[in-house]
């Protein structure tokens, strides 16, 4: 069965410091991996995805994520956090070859950036 874990409910970072939001997954075969962000009272917005190719994926707003097959992880990173990055972040996974409906979302990590 597919699963995705975001082990931290909340991550607190000072503005200007690097940030990491963790995600690990379990899926049969090769994965498709995603990060979405949700700002207050808004729907989810797509940030980035890993489908194939380079393990380091760059996305919107200066975020990037590294696919690590041996550790089954897809951590979200940014070199220098902004207060405006404060939001709820969701990792998601789907096994290649499975239906589009089989995407699984993590429980979310709330990122708080203090000035």
């Amino acid at each position: 069965a597919q699963s995705v874990a975001q082990p931290e409910d909340q991550v607190n970072v000072a503005e200007g410091n690097p940030l990491t939001v963790k995600c690990t997954y379990s899926v049969s075969g090769n994965p498709y991996l995603f990060w979405y962000v949700q700002y207050p009272n808004r729907g989810l917005q797509f940030l980035l995805k890993y489908i194939t190719g380079d393990n380091l994926v760059k996305g919107s707003y200066g975020f990037e994520a590294e696919f690590n097959k041996s550790q089954t992880s897809f951590h979200l990173k940014k070199p220098s956090a902004l207060v405006s990055d404060s939001a709820l972040y969701f990792c998601a996974v789907r096994g290649k070859g499975s239906s589009a409906s089989k995407i699984i979302f993590g429980s979310g990590t709330r990122l708080s950036i203090r000035p």
Binding site: L44, Q45, F90, R94, A100, S101, F105, G108
Partner: protein
């Protein structure tokens, strides 16, 4: 610009009422989704539709039904609302076909439903 709209941002209903949540997308996407979002549980798929009049149950379909009579519109129906259906409901769409583009879902702003 890509757009998914939902009929209401906030909704208050009474137990036993029939509730309709509507979602419209203007991107000509084949796939449409209904999720509910609850704290600590992330997003859980209620129903999925991959074409007009076609639907597939998600992980938590009990107490819900859906309708897709037109490609751009996907409705979620709570047949008899209950207090445990109080939640944030999110609609999403994505293109069909092979390759990376179909993997990105576009979400509406959500409907926060309170059932009293």
């Amino acid at each position: 610009d890509v757009k998914v709209t939902q009929s209401s941002r906030y909704l208050v209903k009474r137990t036993g009422e029939k509730v309709f949540l509507e979602c419209v997308q203007d991107m000509d996407h084949e796939n449409m989704f209904w999720y509910r979002q609850d704290p600590g549980l992330g997003l859980r798929l209620i129903y999925f539709s991959y074409d007009v009049k076609m639907k597939e149950k998600g992980d938590i379909p009990e107490g819900y039904s859906v309708s897709r009579e037109k490609k751009e519109r996907f409705s979620l129906i709570l047949e008899s609302a209950s207090t445990n259906q109080t939640s944030m409901y999110l609609c999403a769409s994505s293109p069909a076909g092979r390759g990376a583009p179909r993997e990105t879902q576009y979400f509406g702003p959500g409907t926060r439903l309170l059932v009293l």
